[in-house]
């Protein structure tokens, strides 16, 4: 008997309505789901279905109109990674990675040690004193990932983190992210537009419906770990891809 896994994040009846001068947008409606601790979950859905909005709510950037969410861990800090690396161009790699702990006013040597470890983890040793403009897209996104881990959040929120990378870099980064996830034992919620990326990386894929977004489908991915690139050619993989594609087509057809 395995005990039921500890819940890391629960979202209940979340609703977000934006209203401004240009009108009212019903972005999320009655959205509920749970994530067990250390789950790798991806969020997929039509453009404008409120994926970024959900992440922004969880990051505390947008107040929900209705409903609630809970982080069941010791602190409610999240690590945030955007589609663009979003680095500070005036800060070197180490300084960018250090930012979250600088804001927490930690002692310098502690910050430096932690930054050093994370830069090593994402494979950027030797680039500590480079400026963002000297980094490739993949390297810059690695810095962003290291930064998001700096304050040791329990939950990582990634909004299409590999969206602006070429296909090959994207696959490499996916494998690296899995390694980091395995090493750090985080709960991950990542937005992606790629069905195969979602299956390859995840324990669970959440499909969001057409706006206003709600959970259309929760698909458990029970492929063995560690994931290997060859798994993309397994029949189970394609059957999962079929289910996701159908679900996405259904929600898009409804509009």
């Amino acid at each position: 008997m395995t005990s039921s896994p500890e819940i890391a994040l629960s979202v209940e009846g979340l609703e977000v309505i934006f209203s401004d001068a240009s009108g009212v947008v019903h972005a999320l409606s009655d959205l509920s789901f749970n994530l067990a601790a250390n789950t790798f979950a991806t969020l997929i859905g039509p453009s404008g279905s409120g994926k970024s909005t959900l992440l922004r709510v969880l990051a505390g950037l947008v107040p929900p109109t209705k409903g609630q969410f809970h982080f069941h861990n010791h602190h409610d800090q999240v690590g945030l990674v955007f589609q663009k690396p979003n680095l500070m161009p005036w800060r070197r790699v180490t300084e960018n990675v250090s930012l979250p702990l600088e804001l927490a006013d930690l002692p310098r040597d502690e910050i430096d040690a932690q930054a050093h470890d994370l830069i090593k983890l994402v494979g950027l040793e030797g680039f500590e004193s480079a400026y963002p403009r000297d980094l490739s897209g993949g390297m810059a996104q690695r810095v962003a990932i290291a930064r998001s881990l700096m304050h040791d959040p329990d939950i990582l929120l990634l909004d299409e983190p590999f969206g602006s990378l070429d296909a090959l870099t994207r696959e490499v980064m996916g494998d690296e992210l899995l390694q980091i996830w395995q090493a750090k034992r985080k709960t991950v919620l990542m937005v992606t537009h790629s069905i195969s990326e979602a299956i390859y990386l995840s324990d669970k894929v959440l499909v969001l419906s057409q706006r206003p977004g709600r959970i259309e489908l929760e698909l458990i991915i029970d492929l063995p770990r560690p994931r290997k690139p060859e798994m993309r050619y397994l029949p189970e993989f394609s059957s999962l891809a079929h289910q996701l594609r159908d679900s996405l087509r259904d929600t898009q057809a409804m509009s």
């Binding site: 505390g60 999240v78 945030l80 979003n86 500070m88 161009p89 005036w90 600088e102 804001l103």
Partner: protein, 268 residues
């Protein structure tokens, strides 16, 4: 603006080449000037040749006259730059933070900008006397607008994603200011300060021409009154040197503080 553009383009050239070009253009300018003076055979009170002006320069340097008036103008310029610059920076920050304040103030700002400083300078001299204070006020007013605008624009251009990042990390208002807003707005802010520095020199001279007992503008008036055109030339050239030095100083600060920017690499 085009002058500023070509100066910064010059700045991007290699140092040795840059110095050579400057030197060459200086030599050519002086040659044309002295040729014009001798070919047209103009009297010295209309166009004194370079030699005459040089002589006058040495004389005014020796008597201490030039230094005294230069220092007077320079201190007005710097005081105005500091006063106008700091008020504009603080107000710019507040405006960038509060649209309500912007709506309240912007009509006055636009109106004040449509009045040339030459037109208000006499008023300020009437109200505050012909001493240094009215000049500092005039300088402050000329510096005020470019610094204010660039502070507001600089703060507005801070990327929203970075603001979101700071917010998700629970940064305080002060941390957001020091770790995000100041460094992000600095390039545009310093651009405003650079323009303000040159305008401040113009402000000081305008004030001194209207009514003063010292300064390079005053010296120009004296030279004109005594048909001492060489002295006018000396004062004008000194003014140009002061304005260019200030411009260069801010540019130097920019290249030091903004070393992370790529435009500096092109200069290497």
């Amino acid at each position: 603006m085009s002058a500023a553009g070509s100066i910064s383009k010059l700045h991007k050239a290699r140092p040795l080449k840059r110095i050579l070009i400057l030197f060459l253009s200086l030599v050519i300018g002086i040659l044309i000037w002295s040729a014009a003076a001798s070919i047209f055979d103009l009297p010295a009170f209309i166009l004194p040749g370079p030699g005459l002006v040089w002589e006058r320069f040495l004389r005014s340097l020796e008597s201490g006259q030039l230094l005294q008036h230069s220092l007077a103008t320079l201190s007005e310029v710097l005081a105005g730059l500091f006063l106008g610059g700091s008020v504009a920076t603080v107000l710019g920050y507040l405006i960038a933070k509060s649209p309500a304040l912007e709506n309240l103030i912007s009509p006055y700002l636009v109106a004040s900008q449509s009045i040339p400083i030459v037109a208000i300078a006499p008023l300020l001299v009437i109200w505050f006397g012909s001493g240094i204070f009215s000049k500092i006020l005039i300088c402050s007013l000329t510096v005020f607008f470019p610094v204010l605008i660039n502070t507001v624009v600089g703060l507005r251009e801070v990327p929203q994603d970075l603001r979101d990042l700071m917010r998700s990390l629970k940064a305080s208002r002060f941390q957001t200011l020091t770790k995000l807003e100041i460094p992000a707005a600095l390039p545009i802010f310093l651009g405003g300060l650079r323009v303000g520095a040159t305008l401040s020199v113009i402000g000081a001279v305008v004030g001194e021409l209207v009514g003063a007992d010292r300064g390079l503008g005053f010296l120009i008036n004296v030279g004109r009154g005594q048909y001492d055109t060489a002295l006018v030339f000396v004062a004008v050239i000194t003014l140009a040197v002061i304005a260019m030095s200030l411009y260069g100083l801010v540019l130097l600060i920019e290249t030091q503080v903004l070393s992370w920017q790529s435009w500096r690499d092109e200069a290497k």
